[in-house]
């Protein structure tokens, strides 16, 4: 037992996470981007809730006036605001599709295809965002 536990100790000391990004495999990148996109989306959601309640304040608050979406910092129709919207969109698409991928792994499905499903998730989120941009830009008066 003593010998076993010492070899266990040595093995666990050697199996610490390798934090060099050059050594990351696909699943590590998936985990990292899921986490980063999650944090960015939490920031977005709270600013979105703030913007919506600010809009309500303009409608029913003491300084009620017609709400002008273009005056709201989170709905600006300029290139920068639109760019931010599309960044949020692609992060949301990736977080959602990759999240579903993880959920089906938890159910025991598709674990053997995890790499292919990851590329499918990335491709799916890029295609979905591209379709929305192609559809939305003409409506917003863009190119």
């Amino acid at each position: 037992m003593g010998e076993g536990s010492s070899s266990m100790n040595r093995r666990s000391r050697l199996s610490f996470t390798d934090v060099n990004p050059l050594h990351f495999k696909a699943e590590m990148w998936a985990w990292l981007f899921q986490r980063i996109s999650g944090v960015v989306l939490v920031v977005y959601v709270f600013s979105h809730i703030g913007a919506i309640s600010q809009a309500t304040f303009g409608i029913i608050g003491p300084s009620a006036q017609p709400f002008d979406p273009l005056r709201n910092p989170f709905w600006t129709a300029d290139t920068f605001g639109l760019g931010l919207d599309f960044v949020v969109l692609i992060l949301l698409a990736f977080h959602g599709i990759n999240g579903l991928r993880v959920v089906i792994f938890d159910l025991g499905w598709g674990v053997r295809m995890h790499r292919g499903l990851l590329f499918l998730a990335v491709a799916g989120s890029v295609v979905l965002t591209a379709l929305v941009i192609l559809y939305a830009l003409p409506l917003l008066g863009g190119p």
Partner: protein, 107 residues
């Protein structure tokens, strides 16, 4: 070897999965309602808004909590993370309810 179980963490894990799947559908509905279905009445909008607000806050703050617990090694840090998440949740509920309030009376 004894297997430690933590029923609270297990329920929160399940909550994260359940809200994740729910959010995929409700967010699609939310984007459709706010961009393409402007004629749909306020009852459905407020219902979707309430479900979305609850699901988003649970998922977002449970996710923040999980991330914080990856780095919080002391009891004090863990309690601090829980407190921050709780305050954010209360703020989210107050501002979120205020934001969707006009839907309830067709404003």
């Amino acid at each position: 070897m004894r297997v430690r179980t933590d029923s609270q963490a297990a329920w929160l894990w399940l909550l994260q999965r359940a809200t994740a799947v729910l959010l995929v559908g409700v967010l699609a509905l939310h984007l459709w309602l706010s961009n393409f279905a402007l004629a749909i009445d306020g009852g459905i909008r407020s219902l979707v808004g309430l479900i979305l607000l609850a699901a988003v806050l649970l998922h977002a703050l449970n996710g923040l909590r999980a991330i914080a617990l990856d780095y919080a090694t002391t009891d004090y840090a863990r309690r601090f993370a829980y407190a921050v998440v709780l305050v954010l949740g209360v703020l989210g509920i107050i501002f979120g309810f205020y934001g969707i309030a006009p839907l309830f009376y067709g404003g």
